[in-house]
């Protein structure tokens, strides 16, 4: 028994007091939690949602944001939007890709193929800055894993068990819906907008989505909220294209390990059966 005596209680109280001094009021509201088809141990992407997300990306985001780590072939691979190869090739063909040098030593443009990656929207960061008011629009390829918000104690401990790891897409959706009139007395730098969820609130990107801007053909609502969710889901897939395989293999591994551990436990009990009795 580890009974805590008065001495240790006093010390523990001192530690707790010290840490409660340390807690500060949260300065930023956390993004609201969304429902995602891909959360949890058996989560799968919603194919239609990923396809819609790609549509939003191509019609709205891609003028400024790259997707350079994704190849067109990925669009037809299992565990993603799962276009047919023909569909993915057709999407690729709509892009002009720089190739070369050719036999004359010159670079040339040709239509994209399945093996090509999405082309970058700007040739370099300087060009991106010049076109975007001094900021480089981040590439979408791993962005869903590069954005998060602080969960704080004790929630970060619960997240281990609940497997909550969709902070990235939750933040992205919140950001899309977080444009507001600045509160009174808030001066924004020139060329920035007020966003409730952006760290520091002054975001260089103008509100990108408006209701009805992208035409959906599958009956999904054509609202900013739906666009935001779809593109965020698409970005999660782009950042983690093997997520479905990972969770599937994970379940198999878990079943194996738990059964194996159980067998070893009973083996151990049998082997040790006589040891806790006199020899």
């Amino acid at each position: 028994m580890r009974t805590l005596r008065p001495l240790s209680l006093v010390l523990l109280a001192a530690c707790l007091a010290a840490s409660s001094v340390a807690t500060r009021a949260a300065e930023q509201e956390p993004p609201p939690r969304q429902q995602w088809s891909f959360s949890g141990p058996f989560g799968l992407f919603d194919r239609a949602q990923l396809q819609r997300g790609l549509k939003v990306y191509r019609e709205v985001c891609q003028t400024c944001h790259g997707l350079t780590m994704i190849a067109f072939r990925n669009l037809a691979e299992p565990g993603g939007p799962e276009f047919t190869r023909a569909q993915a090739a057709a999407i690729a063909a709509e892009y002009q890709i720089q190739d070369g040098p050719n036999d004359q030593g010159e670079m040339f443009q040709r239509p994209g193929r399945l093996a090509d990656h999405f082309p970058a929207p700007f040739p370099n960061d300087q060009a991106a800055r010049a076109a975007n008011n001094g900021t480089v629009p981040p590439d979408f390829s791993v962005l869903a894993k590069a954005r998060t918000y602080e969960r704080g104690f004790p929630w970060f401990l619960f997240d281990i068990v609940t497997q909550y790891q969709e902070q990235g897409p939750d933040y992205i959706v919140a950001l899309m819906l977080g444009y507001e009139e600045p509160p009174q007395g808030v001066e924004l730098p020139a060329g920035t907008q007020y966003n409730k969820y952006f760290p520091g609130h002054a975001i260089a990107m103008p509100p990108p989505l408006t209701d009805g801007r992208v035409e959906y053909t599958d009956g999904a609502p054509m609202t900013v909220a739906q666009y935001a969710k779809d593109v965020a889901a698409f970005m999660v897939w782009a950042a983690e294209p093997h997520m479905e395989a990972r969770k599937r293999v994970g379940f198999q591994v878990m079943v194996f390990l738990i059964v194996f551990a159980g067998l070893l436990y009973f083996t151990k009990k049998k082997v040790w059966a006589g040891v806790h009795e006199p020899a």
């Binding site: 840490s19 780590m69 981040p138 497997q163 990972r246 293999v249 994970g250 591994v253 436990y265």
Partner: protein, 424 residues
């Protein structure tokens, strides 16, 4: 690893080999015959788990290197290529990145087990110091490895940690330039960190051999802290320890797999999915979780040089533990006061870890200072003093007595009922 063994080579080839290189006898003596105290609890299974984790890290690391490019322009992208285009590359990388964390979880449990049961006391001082060296090497290796993906935290973590050395008077800045291979963290830094990250695990493996050697000379400590006296007090390593270690290893793997397959980025930092950018400093530069207590100690001290000294002192002080703890009784089971201070110390370390993840401002700094002071007070004042003032509980005469109670030697009722003819 004594060569005295009851090993009998079973085939002509093994007889031939044994006469020329008694390696099978050595293995037999170390991992089959080796007497282990019969009262070891599950906290003693983490040595085996640590060996397993070292092997996992080396094996996954060797394969990752086949696909990784240690260059500032390609490193970030090559890691993403492993995640996307290498067959099961995502598995290799997540096994390796989470493996580092699991390695540290296991080593912290292993160290605190040693602290609780007094495993550092004579005759195990060298064994303990070798362990401290392994821990230091692990910290270096983990830090170097975190630099390799060349994300924002890689870059800025490397900048902050290497800057420690600039606190050294006079030559500090020159040392930092020498470490970086330039005037800032850059490509030369990345390449030398990669080289060292590949080297150090093999150094660790070498020191682990010494650690196990020292263990097999002194013998294992046990929850009573009373040395085995008769053969009754021990059981052979195989099958007893092997099956117990195997069970715990697989149970540990369940936790490991949970992180790898379900929350692989939980222990990492989102900023490290942004490519290193020397022009943009992250809002909070935070090291990996396993360094956080030491990071809190560093920042608790207002003077940079003293902070760095405190940081290194907080680790090196462990090497002096065998002489700082003056009590003759090893196990906290028989040390009522030490047991309380042990748990306070655990709480202090956890508290420092939490504070290390917080910005160094306001109440956090005050709390970090109190806990840092306590960390050193624990080693420098409490441990030497406790040995002098503490009234310890009576130790059992033997391990067997501790396991079976005073009736050891006489058959228990249960055993007597089961085998009435058997008289102890």
């Amino acid at each position: 690893m004594s060569a005295h063994s009851t090993y009998q080579p079973s085939s002509p080839f093994l007889k031939w080999l044994e006469a020329r290189l008694p390696i099978m006898g050595l293995v037999h003596a170390s991992f089959v015959d080796y007497p282990t105290p019969r009262n070891l609890n599950y906290w003693w299974t983490f040595g085996g788990i640590l060996s397993f984790m070292l092997a996992v890290q080396i094996l996954t690391g060797i394969v990752l290197v086949m696909h990784y490019t240690p260059h500032e322009a390609f490193a970030f992208r090559s890691v993403e290529q492993i995640m996307r285009d290498v067959n099961y590359g995502w598995l290799l990388r997540y096994l390796h990145s989470n493996g580092a964390s699991m390695f540290f979880i296991a080593v912290y449990i292993h160290i605190f087990r040693g602290l609780y049961y007094g495993s550092y006391k004579a005759p195990r001082e060298v064994l303990w110091i070798l362990g401290v060296i392994i821990y230091l090497l692990m910290m270096a290796t983990g830090f170097l490895g975190y630099t390799l993906p060349w994300g924002q935290m890689s870059f800025w973590g490397a900048t902050v940690i290497t800057n420690f050395f600039s606190a050294i008077p006079v030559v500090g800045d020159s040392i930092v330039t020498w470490l970086w291979g330039g005037y800032a963290v850059g490509n030369p830094t990345l390449q030398r960190f990669f080289s060292l990250h590949y080297l150090l695990p093999f150094v660790i493996a070498g020191v682990v051999v010494l650690h196990v050697w020292a263990l097999h000379v002194a013998g294992q400590n046990n929850p009573t802290g009373v040395e085995p006296k008769t053969s009754q007090d021990t059981v052979p390593f195989t099958p007893y320890a092997t099956v117990k270690d195997s069970f715990m290893l697989i149970a540990f793997c369940v936790v490991y797999a949970w992180f790898v397959f379900y929350i692989p980025n939980y222990l990492g930092h989102a900023d490290n999915y942004i490519q290193a950018n020397p022009g943009v400093t992250p809002t909070h530069i935070v090291p990996e979780w396993y360094y956080l207590p030491f990071y809190a100690i560093l920042r608790a001290i207002p003077n940079k040089l003293l902070g760095v000294i405190a940081l290194f002192a907080s680790i090196l002080i462990l090497a002096f533990l065998p002489w700082l703890d003056t009590s003759r009784v090893r196990s906290a089971t028989y040390r009522p006061l030490y047991r309380q201070f042990f748990w306070i110390f655990v709480a202090v370390c956890l508290g420092l870890g939490w504070l290390g993840s917080k910005p160094a401002e306001g109440g956090y700094v005050i709390a970090a200072r109190i806990l840092t002071a306590w960390y050193f007070i624990h080693f420098l004042i409490i441990l030497p003093l406790l040995g002098l003032i503490e009234t310890t509980k009576p130790l059992p005469n033997s391990i067997t007595e501790a396991v079976l109670g005073k009736s050891a030697g006489r058959p228990s009722l249960k055993a007597a009922a089961a085998s009435p003819e058997h008289r102890g």
